[in-house]
Structures are given as structure tokens and as C-alpha cells.
């Protein structure tokens, strides 16, 4: 059913990842809304779950694909949209995921020493949320370039 909906050249796994990532992006917006309403516990659960779920998706799906299809061709082929989009998505995505994990560790645990903990939570969280959506849009652009043939037919 999911293939019928997309009608692209993508494998099922890529479609599932696209849907999951979009849902996670929306989930983070819902989580941010929870913080604004003062439901901080639910906010923490929501955002932490999404950051960890994304880490799993990146590790299981994205890193192997990037290693096989993109890594052998960069930097030589970075002039092509196929590689440039995926590489930019991977670079900013890595920074964003690490920043998300840092917030999670800093705000939700006492693992980090005092001097490494965040004091300006709002600024960090808002910045990561914006970056997350930039990465999500880059991911959608990458999906489109890789798997939607009728947009690029000669």
C-alpha cells in the first residue's frame, strides 16, 4: 500500500524512513508545544523518544546507504546533486542529532559534569528544532532526487 501511495523507484525501507522522519518532525513540534503549555515531563518524554528513535533509524538505515552509495564518490562527485544533497543532509544531520543527544544528556540526566551542562535550554532547543527541520527538508530533497524518476526524466 505504501508503494502504491508513493509510486517512486524507492525501496520499501526508504519509504518507511521517509514517513517515520516526517512523523518525527511533526512529533518534535508537538513536543515543543507541550513545553509551551508547561507540560515539561511529557515534553521531555516526547523529544527524548524522538531523538533516540532517530538515532536508531540513522544507524540502521541511513549510515549503510550513505557508506555504500555516496561515500566512495565524495569529494570527487560533490558537484552532482545526487551526492551533494545526501552529503549536506548527512553533515547537518549528524550535527543536529549530536546536539539533540547533548540536550537529552544535559537536561534529562546527570551523566555530564556540571560545567558541560546547558544553561540556556530554550536557545539550544529552539536551534536544534530549526536545524532538525532543515535536515528533514534536505532529506526529502534527497529522497526526491534519488527515487522520483519522472521528475528527472530526459
Amino acid at each position: 500500500m505504501i508503494e502504491a501511495f508513493f509510486e517512486t523507484a524507492a525501496p520499501r525501507a526508504a519509504n518507511v524512513v521517509l514517513v517515520l522522519e516526517f512523523a518525527m518532525g511533526l512529533g518534535l513540534l508537538v513536543g515543543a508545544r507541550l513545553a509551551r503549555k508547561g507540560s515539561f515531563r511529557q515534553h521531555a518524554w516526547c523529544q527524548s523518544s524522538i531523538v533516540l528513535l532517530n538515532l536508531a533509524v540513522v544507524a540502521v538505515m541511513m549510515i549503510p546507504s550513505f557508506r555504500d552509495h555516496v561515500l566512495p564518490r565524495i569529494p570527487a562527485k560533490l558537484g552532482k546533486a545526487y551526492y551533494a544533497l545526501a552529503t549536506t543532509h548527512a553533515a547537518i544531520g549528524t550535527v543536529t542529532e549530536l546536539a539533540g543527544l547533548y540536550i537529552l544528556l544535559s537536561a534529562g540526566t546527570s551523566v555530564l559534569p556540571e560545567k558541560f551542562r546547558i544553561t540556556k535550554y530554550k536557545a539550544w532547543m529552539r536551534s536544534v528544532l530549526v536545524l532538525w527541520w532543515v535536515v528533514l527538508l534536505l532529506g526529502m530533497a534527497t529522497y526526491t532526487r534519488w527515487y522520483v524518476p519522472h521528475l528527472f526524466r530526459k
Partner: protein
């Protein structure tokens, strides 16, 4: 005199025929063993060749693709082929060899070896 002219014409025609035939046959054979990858498809989708033939896939698409056999032992598997890159495999045994692009699994083709 006209007989000499006719004979000369016949000799030239025969020479052209003999010289041209193998060339045409060779071209046909060469074309038949090449699979072009373009617009997210393999062409021809099904290729029939005699055993011992080397088939070459060439990526004419502006997208990277792969050529991977569908059998469990992965009889042949290319690296990621960028535009204008080639992959060749020699089919020594008769049989049907379905294959696909591992990046775009809906792209499929087969080589029938007789």
C-alpha cells in the same frame, strides 16, 4: 567489352558482400551483449545470449545504479555505477539470470543464457 564491365562489377559487389557481412554480424553481436541503463530502466529488459558471452551494462542515466543478480549467491554484483561507467560479467553456464538495481529495486532485467 560489356562482359568485362559486368564481371568487374560482380567482383566488386562480391568483394563488398564478403567484406561487409562479418562486419555487420560483429556489430549485431556487440550490440546484443550490451545493456543500457537509462531513465530508471534496463534496455533490453531481457537479453538472450549464448553461453560464454560477456554482457556489459553501461549507465547512461544521470543517476547512479547497480547491477545485482537476484539469486541467493549473488552470482554477479557491480559496484555503484555512475554516469557512463560500465560493468561486465561473463556468463559461462546456461540458465536465466534475473537481476535488479539495489538502489532502485523496481528496476529489473534478466539475461537468458542458452
Amino acid at each position: 567489352m560489356w562482359i568485362v564491365g559486368m564481371a568487374a562489377t560482380a567482383v566488386v559487389a562480391l568483394g563488398l558482400l564478403l567484406a561487409g557481412s562479418p562486419k555487420v554480424a560483429a556489430n549485431t553481436q556487440q550490440a546484443a551483449t550490451e545493456v543500457k541503463i537509462d531513465n530508471f530502466s534496463f534496455g533490453p529488459v531481457a537479453l538472450t545470449v549464448p553461453a560464454g558471452t560477456t554482457v556489459t551494462w553501461i549507465n547512461r542515466d544521470d543517476m547512479p545504479h547497480t547491477v545485482v543478480s537476484m539469486d541467493d549467491s549473488k552470482t554477479f554484483k557491480s559496484k555503484v555505477l555512475d554516469t557512463d561507467e560500465k560493468f561486465s560479467f561473463t556468463f559461462s553456464k546456461a540458465g536465466t539470470y534475473p537481476y535488479f538495481c539495489s538502489i532502485h529495486p523496481k528496476m529489473t532485467g534478466k539475461v537468458i543464457v542458452q
